[in-house]
Symmetry: C2
Subunit: 404 residues, 2 copies
């Protein structure tokens, strides 16, 4: 993975912020995840019932977005052994439509909730449990000591615990992401190898270190001006990665400042090229200059698919695409948009190139964005790891439910 | 469909802007679409080859987002007769992964491009045509006189023409959306009835008129302050509607002003509840106060699915959800978040309630947003209907392709 920045930096703050992140390492759990022992997960997956074809995840937000991002990224090209499905909504039409498409006898359910009391997850679990009340159909992932932990023990189902101090949106490289991914056949070792590559490089001040830290400083110092940060990824299957990014960025960086109590926040936008060249791009080109853009490209698609050498009457002007590999075409499209934006000289651009569509590459990308988020959070003087803002709605809902 | 606004209005500009839209009606084609004669489309669909099971759309941006939005909205609950699939990317992994999942012998291809020279669409068409070079497998939708029109005539395939002065992102209620939707079994008559209901109400200054116009005035006058407009829809299958909205809003309203030449723009965000309560909501609650939120709710899900009356040991605190219909729960969640945001008194909120998940309701919603976009564009003093900003990238790409 390479990251090239097309904007200038003030490098003085580098050491200051680096030291803060080094200190945070002891307090915040996700920094250690690339080095965790995962043998128990690998063993669990190896010995898992071969007749199970589908793993259905009951989880929402941090409990589903990460595994979905990685699974969907790898699905088109990697031979996976089980399908992952996600129950993420209380929408009854959605619940029934997923249930109608699975064979309950060949499905295992992963119930994932850190607090153990997520209202959506437990409501859906109650419904599915009423249809299939058999403890061996369920595996639970929760914090040790939660009420869901106690329930799962009573039930006698398999249980995994989240490591300490790992928040939901930073949990994809813990059991929360690794258990479903291992069951689906993703190479979770490579995933962690990728993450650890970025981890080691950053903490040893090598390679990606300067881009990460300079980008964080630029984003944080310009947060009032460039308040919208777009990822423009030129690969359809990165769609769910952008949804994971939206949660990570929005929920981590939209906060009251620690000392000033000002409301600050950077707004994440996920775009997919070339599709969104025909949608959001116009707004970036001619709209308010309040957006930054990060292009993400795949270096090697490992695909020979070409536009065939066919001439179509009256469409001769388009013969220029003949014989071109689609992988080359899509990256040319990305470069063309990048050059058009650079020419405006008013939009901060950077480019991330990942080597190929494999577990290691997505591991790198995930960890890169986690570090970047932590750096910006610290520079914005906010608590990156809480989400107090969403409590008010939950309290109101509880009141309504009591009354009902 | 109802729309309730929770912010105060300056009503003086109403008549001024209304007159401008009335004038625009003669010039801009989409206003007439709800009243177009669609008999030729209905006839085409009625007589269509019964053994075709899949309609694959080759189109991008305005050529795909509208039909996808409506199809995906209706799919979970309406009995549709054919599957719609979308080739929207030059990503080779995506092209192959869609092709691997269809039976070419039971698939008909709709090639949709207004200009007739969309590089993505023609490249993909060349590839598919090389696999299946039979004119009767293709139907073309384009502007009369385009090079694609001439090609299709030479080929002898079925052709439909876009009406004059209908831009891609306003074309969903023309043949661009209606042909694929009719083939999939959507009731396109009801769709237009819904759209026309809003059309008539607006131009007769009835019902929705005042909300539409007041909302437009509010958004336009506050475009510097509330520069990000979120739709928060509490129905999973409205996901693709929000993508259609993002194109409509972003590409229409991100422009240089006609007279001042300033870059203005409103940034659209599509959110789905309750999922995004666990993601983007924190940023709305505690981040910068630069966002407006429109909640969209379904009045009648026509579903009896309930949380069963099950007590789970140690999870007794969550017995409050027992016996509640999921349709009630999801709308309670929406109301709770709405109340939490209203309590902040700094975020402009409105709420749209649509009656049910049917063609008529989505027709209303589509036309509501088209009118709203036109109103705001006029108030911002921009050309809502062009997209000059995307040309620069296209020109650079052509240069690169020539060189290759």
């Amino acid at each position: 993975m390479h990251n090239r920045l097309y904007f200038n930096m003030d490098n003085q703050k580098r050491d200051d912020i680096f030291q803060k992140i080094v200190l945070e390492q002891n307090r915040i759990g996700y920094y250690n995840l690339p080095n965790e022992n995962i043998n128990h997960i690998l063993e669990f997956a190896d010995n898992f019932d071969k007749k199970i074809e589908t793993i259905a995840i009951l989880g929402i937000g941090g409990s589903s977005l990460g595994s979905k991002a990685i699974y969907e990224f790898l699905k088109p090209t990697n031979k996976l052994i089980r399908k992952l499905l996600f129950f993420e909504s209380t929408d009854p039409l959605n619940i029934l439509s997923i249930l109608n498409n699975i064979n309950l006898d060949k499905t295992h359910f992963l119930v994932i909730s850190k607090s153990g009391e997520t209202i959506e997850t437990i409501s859906i679990f109650k419904y599915i449990f009423s249809q299939k009340p058999d403890s061996k159909n369920y595996t639970f992932i929760t914090a040790k000591g939660s009420n869901l932990d106690k329930f799962a023990k009573d039930l006698g189902s398999k249980l995994f615990y989240l490591p300490d101090n790992v928040g939901g949106r930073f949990s994809v490289l813990s059991v929360v992401g690794l258990v479903p991914l291992a069951l689906s056949g993703v190479n979770i070792k490579s995933l962690l190898v990728g993450a650890n590559k970025i981890n080691i490089a950053f903490f040893n001040k090598k390679r990606i270190y300067s881009q990460l830290i300079d980008k964080a400083i630029f984003y944080a110092s310009n947060h009032e001006r460039y308040r919208i940060n777009c990822i423009f990824a030129y690969l359809e299957s990165l769609k769910y990665f952008t949804e994971w990014f939206v949660q990570l960025w929005g929920e981590s960086l939209g906060k009251k400042q620690r000392h000033s109590a000002c409301n600050v926040g950077l707004t994440p936008i996920g775009l997919i090229g070339p599709k969104d060249q025909h949608s959001f791009l116009q707004l970036i080109m001619e709209g308010k200059r309040d957006k930054s853009v990060t292009f993400i490209k795949i270096k090697d698609f490992k695909s020979n698919l070409k536009v065939p050498n066919i001439k179509l009457s009256n469409l001769e002007a388009l013969d220029i695409v003949n014989n071109i590999p689609f992988s080359k075409l899509i990256n040319m499209q990305c470069n063309s948009v990048k050059e058009a934006l650079l020419a405006l000289k008013e939009i901060p651009i950077d480019e991330i190139v990942i080597s190929k569509v494999d577990a290691k590459s997505i591991g790198e990308l995930i960890y890169y964005y986690e570090l970047l988020t932590s750096l910006i959070g610290e520079l914005l003087d906010i608590n990156t790891y809480n989400q107090d803002g969403v409590e008010a709605g939950k309290t109101i809902l509880k009141g309504k439910l009591m009354k009902y």
